[in-house]
């Protein structure tokens, strides 16, 4: 997965970067609550120069999905 993304998640969720894996799940995660999710989205949009839709933001369930979403947005169609 994108290393920059892993570092961003570690920073925003205040956790070691080694623990950030594509299979990390949002639901039930002690630090990935709804406000931190939005802070994460803002940080990602700033860092990668992308804009996620409301549906996309709400649909994110895992780090892996977020990684794919960013890749999609960054690849010119």
């Amino acid at each position: 997965m994108n290393q920059k993304l892993a570092e961003l998640i570690a920073d925003v969720l205040d956790m070691p970067v080694a623990e950030v894996t594509p299979r990390m799940v949002r639901e039930g995660h002690p630090k990935w609550d709804s406000l931190n999710h939005l802070r994460l989205v803002t940080a990602i949009e700033e860092e990668f120069g992308v804009a996620l839709s409301m549906d996309e933001i709400e649909a994110v369930e895992t780090v892996g999905q977020l990684d794919e979403m960013i890749a999609e947005h960054c690849t010119p169609a």
Partner: protein
């Protein structure tokens, strides 16, 4: 800044160290991620917060609250913030299980988004008449008022209420302006009435959120996506500006206030060097852009003076040249008499700052020093770190803004005394001149013809009383910093007597210069606080206050004892022997240095205070005693 910040966060071992590491950080440059790091670090460090603040509202305030804590820390105030449940600002006051009493906040911030208070608003005001529009204003004001009145009943916390902010877009577009009672006017009228309603209220402060959002830029401040997803009304780009505003309140509530603005002259108050250009050559005229920049700066200084700060000059110049410059340029916003102290000589500036502080009877830590010369600024920073040094940049165009932006010059409210402060210091200087001429102390005191009036404090004196408790450092026996809500409680209670004392003499009116607070207990009367402005020290008012306290005690408990205590601080040396000199006996001295005193009321004597005439106050002694 992020790497530096990380290092400084890790190096700070406690909250106090973190405060000093962050001191001087420009809060407007804080980004949310930095604020988050600062607050996280603060949460794990040792150190009691200066203030506990509860945030309530009908929109999400979490990120805002953390930004306020980060900004406040940069200004030297440790704020512990807690955000109440969304849209439950009333429940928070009324339902004890939500923990208001346990948290016991010093301040509560309330922010309401108007569209949630008035759901009919987004449909536009086109169909409504002026009366219906007025009804909406009333409805919104009532929502705020009922919260405030409920809060007053359950907490003594300072209530900070955000005003209503105008959204980016108007529902009727440019036609709104032709409606006569449109949306723009609705917000203007609502906010004007909100300010009016609480201007004189000592517990409530209406915070100009609308202005901060406009300054930040409304387009950046409101994004629809975050509002829809999480009811976040204030987007991240606006948070530093809002936090800047909030931290000004918290810093004014907690930090000792600055009392005097010390100014250089050449290239500070005017353009050019007086010694070279001569009094005619300095740039201060209208029509000259550089001259106008200095005029704007002088006007800003004048405004700061009206906030209750004193002005002083500290300049390396020939005194005659400077006097000539002020005589020649009488149309300058500042005149010679605006300065309560003037040090114009060739001595080093740190010595002059010491002299200014001594002349005005204030500490050097209450000085703000403004100079364009980097070497002078560096000298003061190194030798007098307690002084707030402001180095002016080369271009004078921004001087006025720079001054008005300084958080150290903020006051949460102004009293009558603030408005007259400079005049009072000039009168003080005349008194000193007489003192030198009189030689004999007793003759001097008698020549002053000081007239004192005591009366029980009422709401009319609230701002001044609060200020005396908050600002008096030297003549303050217990240094208890009471909040407006505490003061109201004392005024209302039959078991407490809170009195103010005003003075005037042959040189002028000194206004309210002191206050004391005594408590009626079952078998004794206890002196809780005595505060006296440094302007009025050393002329017998101290003894007149003690006499007044003895008289009240005799009325309340003729057979009981009068108790008092002195708690030493770094600054209250003038009160350490106060009760000894008033005939009290020392009962005990604790390990922390607190001294407790007692005096049998039946044996208490009124002591002689030469030259002082006590005039009848609003309430006479006899009627109270009976």
């Amino acid at each position: 800044m992020t790497d530096d910040l990380r290092l400084c966060l890790e190096a700070s071992k406690d909250a106090t160290a973190l405060k000093s590491a962050l001191a001087g950080t420009d809060v407007l440059t804080l980004v949310t991620r930095d604020a988050e790091r600062i607050v996280r670090r603060l949460e794990v460090l040792e150190g009691a917060p200066d203030l506990r603040v509860l945030y309530l509202g009908n929109h999400t305030l979490d990120m805002f609250a953390r930004m306020v804590s980060a900004a406040s820390l940069c200004r030297g105030v440790h704020v512990d913030g807690r955000v109440g449940p969304f849209d439950q600002h009333m429940q928070m006051l009324l339902d004890p299980s939500l923990g208001l009493a346990d948290y016991d906040p010093h301040a509560i911030f309330l922010s309401l988004e108007l569209e949630r208070v008035l759901p009919q608003l987004p449909a536009g005001l086109a169909g409504l008449g002026a009366a219906a529009r007025e009804g909406l204003v009333e409805q919104a004001l009532a929502a705020v008022a009922s919260w405030i009145e409920t809060a007053r009943g359950v907490t003594g916390a300072t209530l900070l209420v955000g005003n209503f902010w105008r959204p980016c877009r108007q529902h009727l577009g440019i036609a709104d302006a032709k409606l006569g009672h449109g949306e723009a006017q609705l917000y203007a009228s609502l906010n004007a009435r909100l300010f009016d309603a609480y201007a004189a209220d000592p517990q409530v402060f209406v915070v100009d959120v609308d202005h901060a959002l406009a300054t930040a830029g409304r387009r950046a401040a409101h994004g629809p996506r975050m509002k829809l997803l999480a009811k976040i009304a204030w987007a991240e780009p606006a948070l530093p500006q809002l936090a800047d505003l909030m931290s000004r309140y918290f810093a004014s509530m907690v930090l000792p206030p600055k009392k005097c603005l010390v100014l250089d002259l050449d290239n500070t108050l005017w353009g050019g060097v007086l010694g070279e250009e001569g009094p005619e050559g300095i740039r201060i005229a209208e029509g000259d852009p550089v001259g106008e920049a200095f005029r704007a700066f002088q006007s800003a200084i004048k405004a700061v003076q009206r906030r209750g700060l004193l002005l002083a000059i500290c300049s390396k110049n020939n005194l005659e040249d400077v006097e000539e410059a002020f005589r020649l340029h009488t149309d300058m916003p500042l005149g010679w008499s605006d300065f309560a102290a003037r040090q114009v000589n060739w001595e080093p500036k740190h010595a002059n700052l010491q002299d200014i502080a001594a002349q005005l009877n204030i500490g050097t830590d209450s000085l703000v020093f403004v100079d364009d010369n980097p070497a002078e600024c560096e000298l003061i920073r190194q030798l007098m770190p307690e002084v707030r040094t402001v180095h002016l940049p080369k271009d004078p165009s921004s001087y006025a803004d720079l001054l008005l932006d300084l958080p150290e010059l903020e006051r949460v409210a102004l009293s009558e005394e603030d408005l007259r402060k400079t005049e009072q210091y000039h009168e003080q200087a005349e008194r000193e001149a007489v003192r030198v001429a009189a030689g004999d102390m007793r003759a001097y005191l008698e020549s002053l013809e000081t007239r004192l009036t005591f009366w029980p404090a009422t709401r009319a004196e609230m701002t001044r009383v609060h200020q005396l408790f908050a600002k008096t450092n030297q003549f303050n026996v217990t240094t208890k910093r009471y909040r407006p809500a505490d003061i109201e409680r004392f005024m209302a209670s039959p078991d407490w007597q809170l009195e103010v004392v005003a003075a005037r003499d042959r040189f002028g009116d000194l206004g309210i210069i002191g206050a004391f607070l005594v408590e009626r207990r079952t078998d004794a009367v206890a002196v809780d606080s005595v505060v006296l402005s440094c302007r009025a020290m050393g002329r017998g008012v101290e003894t007149a206050i003690a006499n007044r306290i003895k008289a009240i005690a005799a009325g309340w408990q003729p057979q009981g004892r009068l108790l008092a205590e002195v708690r030493p601080t770094r600054k209250n040396k003038p009160v350490l022997e106060y009760f000894d000199s008033q005939g009290f006996a020392l009962l005990e001295a604790t390990a922390e240095g607190t001294k407790r005193y007692g005096l049998k009321i039946a044996q208490a004597q009124s002591l002689d205070c030469p030259g002082i005439i006590v005039e009848a106050g609003a309430q006479s002694l006899e009627s109270e005693a009976s």
